[in-house]
């Protein structure tokens, strides 16, 4: 059979939204030349619930629920992020003990999030074993969250003016037990990764993200620190009690996937350091501001605008709230770090192999509850 038309050079391939290595419902439209990716176009929105609109229709206290459901592996940091803005707007200052409790919980939540990421990243690259190790470690954290709030993932632990429940002896004991055993176990898991030649060869020098591109695309968090920018909201604009504890910002200058892995590993160790100091420094006292009554029946009124930003495990998580003096916010806007971090995939995914694209998209740490909101 003779062909008159020349064969198309490029092949268009659909990847996702249900591909096992896309961490949720990411769909990628790829333009392929053989096995080399020429162009990537992420298609998102499959988990879109419009949390911003739901927040407009709800009271200030109730909106907190929807922030749990954004980054569902890191829900306590999300709550801290919303309250950072909402409490500024409503003019309610939580007592010192509540701030310390929030700091501890946000850091433990960060560890849980990084652990899930490490396990899933191992799966992306064909390593099954570390997954079980990290989920065993995470289980201890989830037990702490359950003891504090009553639920494992969607905790709804913090509330405007403080936290839902004070730390009791059992929780403090569990946390102390955890930070005592965790670093050793983490090192064990770490060795599973870095002593594996396949892992090293699949991440070293892959997905190099230059500093100026990262800044121009608004990349934040471990991705930015993996590109050699020493920047952390916890240091740059301290919130909660981060100015009263000592910790370091890990930075990697290799700019590749391995660098991002190492940054996250070191962040977990720094979080343990923060929790350890916080447990020593936490004062006695009320855990709830009496001005914001514990009952959800109280309707707080907010006027003006406030932007609160926090460092979640993925990057800079910002909430911008505009109030018009009524009991409901006029406009809520969420700066989701992974939304920005994902947009840089269009740059990172040029001229790489399909298998490397999986390694690169995994290293972004995508959680689609947060990208799509």
């Amino acid at each position: 059979m003779e062909t008159t038309k020349p064969l198309n050079k490029y092949v268009e391939l659909n990847m996702g939204p249900q591909h096992p290595s896309t961490h949720g419902v990411l769909r990628l439209r790829l333009l392929l030349d053989g096995e080399t990716v020429k162009k990537v176009e992420p298609v998102i929105g499959y988990l879109h619930r419009n949390a911003e609109k739901i927040c407009e229709l709800d009271y200030y206290c109730d909106s907190l629920l929807y922030f749990d459901r954004m980054d569902y592996v890191n829900s306590l940091s999300m709550e801290a992020g919303y309250l950072e803005a909402a409490e500024k707007l409503l003019g309610i200052e939580p007592p010192e003990r509540a701030k310390w409790i929030r700091t501890i919980m946000a850091e433990l939540s960060r560890i849980a999030s990084h652990l899930v990421w490490a396990g899933a990243y191992g799966l992306d690259l064909g390593m099954l074993t570390p997954f079980f190790y990290v989920f065993d470690l995470r289980e201890q954290l989830l037990n702490i969250f359950t003891e504090a709030s009553g639920s494992r993932l969607l905790t709804n632990y913090m509330s405007i003016g403080g936290v839902y429940q004070d730390f009791n002896d059992k929780i403090v004991y569990m946390i102390k037990d955890f930070i005592k055993t965790f670093p050793k176990k983490l090192e064990e898991v770490f060795n599973l990764f870095v002593k594996n030649d396949i892992f090293i060869s699949r991440t070293k020098g892959i997905g190099v993200l230059e500093k100026d591109i990262a800044i121009s695309y608004g990349v934040t968090g471990p991705m930015l620190r993996g590109s050699g920018v020493e920047y952390d909201v916890r240091k740059a604009e301290p919130y909660l009690m981060y100015d009263k504890v000592n910790f370091d910002i890990p930075v990697s200058y290799t700019k590749d996937c391995l660098g991002r892995f190492l940054v996250r590993y070191e962040e977990m160790r720094q979080s343990i350091k923060i929790v350890k100091q916080a447990l020593d420094k936490i004062p006695d006292g009320p855990y709830f501001n009496p001005k914001a009554k514990k009952s959800l029946m109280i309707r707080l009124r907010g006027e003006g605008e406030a932007y609160g930003r926090t460092e979640s495990s993925k990057g800079e998580f910002g909430v911008y709230i505009v109030g018009d003096g009524t009991v409901k916010p006029y406009r809520v806007r969420v700066r989701s770090p992974t939304f920005k971090n994902l947009s840089v995939l269009r740059e990172l995914g040029k001229d790489v192999m399909i298998a490397d694209l999986v390694a690169i998209s995994g290293s972004i740490d995508l959680v689609f509850g947060e990208v799509d909101r």
């Binding site: 609109k53 700066r335 920005k340």
Partner: protein, 152 residues
């Protein structure tokens, strides 16, 4: 000369500047030259009679965070994608949610909602009671309509 009016700071104590829509690009370029290399957030606010667009800028060197506001009566604002790459998806999202047309944007399409969605959900006059259905065409692209289709 560009008019950049400083307003009283909000409750988060960040500086607020207001510029006219026509001067937006010039003002933003001058902010970029001053070291604000990180466009953190673009927010559209439906003020019923007008649309307000809020830009949160950040400088890594100075470690400063400022707010720039502009407003429009005819739903169009010049695009700042030529200055910051991160404006691309943010502007697409605001177009998707509020129907703000960013003039000069290279690829202004809906990003979170499927093509064909009617209405802009974050507008104050959006009708929440209308149900829309999402189906898929032959090319695998989603589109929305009021027709339930076979899948539902």
């Amino acid at each position: 000369m560009v008019d950049i009016v400083e307003e009283p700071a909000g409750k988060d104590k960040r500086k607020i500047f207001r510029v006219k829509k026509e001067d937006l690009i010039t003002a933003m370029k001058s902010f970029y030259d001053q070291g604000y290399d990180h466009l953190s957030l673009i927010t559209g606010i439906d003020r019923r009679d007008k649309i307000e667009v809020v830009y949160h800028l950040h400088s890594f060197q100075k470690n400063e965070y400022i707010v720039v506001k502009t407003e429009t009566l005819n739903d169009t604002v010049p695009s700042v994608t030529s200055i910051w790459q991160s404006a691309d998806w943010d502007e697409r999202e605001q177009y998707d949610m509020l129907g703000i047309t960013f003039e000069g944007h290279p690829d202004l399409r809906r990003i979170l909602l499927p093509e064909g969605w009617s209405g802009y959900p974050l507008r104050k006059n959006y009708d929440l009671s209308k149900v829309q259905f999402v189906n898929m065409d032959e090319d695998g692209n989603d589109y929305a309509s009021f027709d339930p289709g076979d899948g539902w």
